[in-house]
């Protein structure tokens, strides 16, 4: 695969990054990424990957746009209230970059659809709100040997790590049981999801293009209330029911 003249011009500022270059750009063009869901967090990941020239995006997100989405879901607009979230996301992304291939799935990830959806991509971005979805993607990440970038937020806090099957802990190593206190709706600012979404996109670009240092085996913890940023080492759980035998 080669880049067109138009692509070389559009991506010229990042192609100038010495250890990325045209080779890295071609790797992005050849890559496929699943983003679930494309709301406050995943929508920013999708937007940045679209701008960076990812070849193929698979967006999984059920439902229609609501007023309460608009403080953080920047791919959704007031004019599109009541219409499909993934349709709105696809339109906004193609406005930015018409060279993208985008598959939209008007469903959330479940144990029933995770196998087939994950099989379409090279990398998973977990931006889903419910742990049932997150565990479903984590299981397929391990079974299908595909990296998963795990992004999360709450109030003014955010976390991100990159799970590499066979090398790093997986989501079930960190949290072996579905958290009983977690709820679908939680307090957060759109600016918090925006920051961690950009970090998630950069992790994806580094994993796919094979340069830089990713957050493998490391969890970046951020608290914007007092501007603290910590990176902690995380460890595989030898008794993990998902990846413990790997």
């Amino acid at each position: 695969m080669i880049l067109t003249d138009k692509e070389r011009e559009v991506y010229s500022w990042q192609i100038d990054v010495p250890d990325f270059g045209e080779e890295g750009q071609i790797k992005l063009k050849e890559s496929s990424v699943l983003i679930s869901r494309c709301g406050g967090l995943g929508g920013i990941v999708a937007y940045e990957l679209a701008a960076a020239g990812i070849g193929n995006l698979v967006l999984a997100h059920n439902g229609n746009i609501q007023n309460s989405d608009l403080n953080r879901q920047l791919l959704m607009t007031d004019q599109s209230l009541g219409t499909s979230r993934v349709e709105s996301a696809k339109k906004r992304l193609l406005d930015l970059n018409p060279r993208l291939n985008i598959e939209i799935i008007n469903e959330n990830i479940t144990p029933l659809n995770a196998t087939s959806i994950v099989s379409k991509v090279d990398l998973i971005v977990d931006a889903a709100p419910l742990f049932e979805e997150r565990y479903s993607m984590n299981l397929q990440s391990v079974l299908q040997n595909k990296p998963m970038i795990d992004c999360a937020m709450y109030e003014l806090e955010a976390q991100i790590t990159t799970f590499i099957p066979g090398e790093t802990p997986c989501l079930s190593c960190l949290y072996p049981e579905n958290p009983p206190h977690w709820k679908r709706r939680f307090p957060v600012f759109g600016a918090v999801s925006g920051v961690v979404g950009c970090l998630g996109a950069m992790e994806a670009i580094k994993v796919l293009a094979g340069f830089g240092e990713v957050l493998a085996g490391k969890l970046l913890l951020m608290d914007y209330r007092n501007n603290t940023f910590d990176i902690v080492a995380i460890h595989k759980n030898p008794t993990c029911p998902v990846c413990g035998k790997q």
Binding site: G39, P129, E157, Y175, H235, N237
Partner: protein, 93 residues
């Protein structure tokens, strides 16, 4: 010895404070710390920190000195001045 305990995410909301300092005998372990928190019912945290069998919840993340994850089952020995941070899981949306 004194160990500082930071609360983050939903644990911080339940605690209503960022952190507490807990006095423990020398050579105390992580589980000694958790028992002290439980016995003192510090800031009504028990329902989020412990399961129905009064065991430390398996859906929590613990770090020591803001640098490394620890697991309750490893029950590491603590030192004076250590900082333990407790996170409940968070997600996207």
């Amino acid at each position: 010895m004194v160990v500082k305990v930071n609360f983050r995410t939903q644990v911080k909301v339940a605690a209503s404070v960022d952190n507490v300092k807990v006095e423990l005998p020398v050579n105390s372990t992580f589980n000694d710390l958790m028992i002290e928190i439980k016995n003192e019912s510090i800031h009504k945290l028990n329902s989020i920190l412990f399961d129905s069998e009064s065991k430390v919840s398996r859906s929590l993340l613990f770090t020591i000195n803001q640098s490394e994850q620890i697991r309750s089952e490893d029950n590491i020995e603590l030192n004076d001045g250590d900082i333990i941070t407790i996170f409940s899981p968070i997600s996207g949306g």
